[in-house]
Amino acid sequence: MSDDHVYMTLAEGHEDDSRWAYGTGFEDPLHGVDTTVPEGVDAGRLAADCVALADDALVSAQRLAEWTTRAPELEEEVALANIGLDLLGQARLLYARAGQVDGTGRDEDAYAYFRDAEDFRNVRLAELPCGDFAFSIVRLLVLSSWRLAHFEQLSAHPDPVLAAIAAKGVKELTYHRQYAAEWAVRLGDGTEESRRRTRTAMEQVAPYLGELFTAYDVRGEVVAVLRQVTEAAGLPMPVYRPLPGAGRAGERTEHLAPLLAELQSVARAHPGATW
């Protein structure tokens, strides 16, 4: 099969599924994985955990993709897009797992395209607008450190599928955090302007830290990373000022609905479309 027959190859392998190239529905990222939920694991809770983690990743990926054509350098644009693609992959695996275990049999598209803002359970920090490059870097530093610490815990989860998704994600999140940490130090230790912007970004993320630490018991590890980076950058640690409510409980900012409107518009205008 030569490369120019990719369409035929895909179509051949999916005679039973003509929706081969719409969104991501042409393939199940967990195709052929043993779907059994182990005894002692609460399927409802497992599905909810997977959806929340997938929502964080999907919303973050969408924000990172917004930098495409707008980043300060082509290299950074490619980096942010690549990181977003990893997170999108994690979201797809997690939605697929949720659909297997929550009894609805929903596929990844159903979760990504056909739920409204109030149904999303991502942490609010993920949905805030991109802001400037310093804010996006500081947010990426916080979210990747937090997710990495939790994925390390999850790689011992009793559900082998979630554990495997997490173990794979650990490798990716490690270099996401590395990228963000190096940039945070460079900006914080850079010009007066980059220092001012990075300091402002630290203040802007501070109110959203509380719900991260309520969601998972990873505060020690995340704070240690932030301390290491702020010390190297000569920046103050963000001051912990928790906002009321939590994205995990369905509390939303005004920014998620417009993000989803853009993300979901094509899928909703042409349900089941193929091209």
Partner: protein
Amino acid sequence: MVTVLTDVRHARHIAEQVPDPELPMLTLADLGVLRAVEMTGDGTVVASLTPTYSGCPAMAEMRADVAARLRDAGYTRVEIRTVLDPPWTSDWITPEGRRKLAEHGIAPPGAAPHHAAGPVPLVLSPVRRTVACPRCGSADTEETSRFAATSCKALWRCLACREPFEYVKEI
């Protein structure tokens, strides 16, 4: 009359020859994503694939390619399984795969990082790795971008022969 092929070694050979969609100089076996090819009692060929990165967009194509090649070779019952555990590591790229990468001007990965149990440490002054230029062999090279056209590669340049080159990252 339908002849059911039952030779698992031949099936494995067929699956091993399927090229990777993004690094077509490598087969799926060279890349280490083809984890197993087995045959069940009823003659179904079961090929197990593992994704390189969670977001690897080529996974669907790899599955379809392997299934199509096996069917073309006469295996009527084919099943493709996704294996997530253990996660793929660049250490699984075979010596043959590394040789082919270098031959095509792509520097092969070094040894993947391993960390002991416990939190993954953040190292703010990463150890400078030496990557030999795949064209002239010089070690006088530098990274220009840690991220490139696909997740698995970084961009480097050689200061001796002045040529840019891609480098498969260790993960």
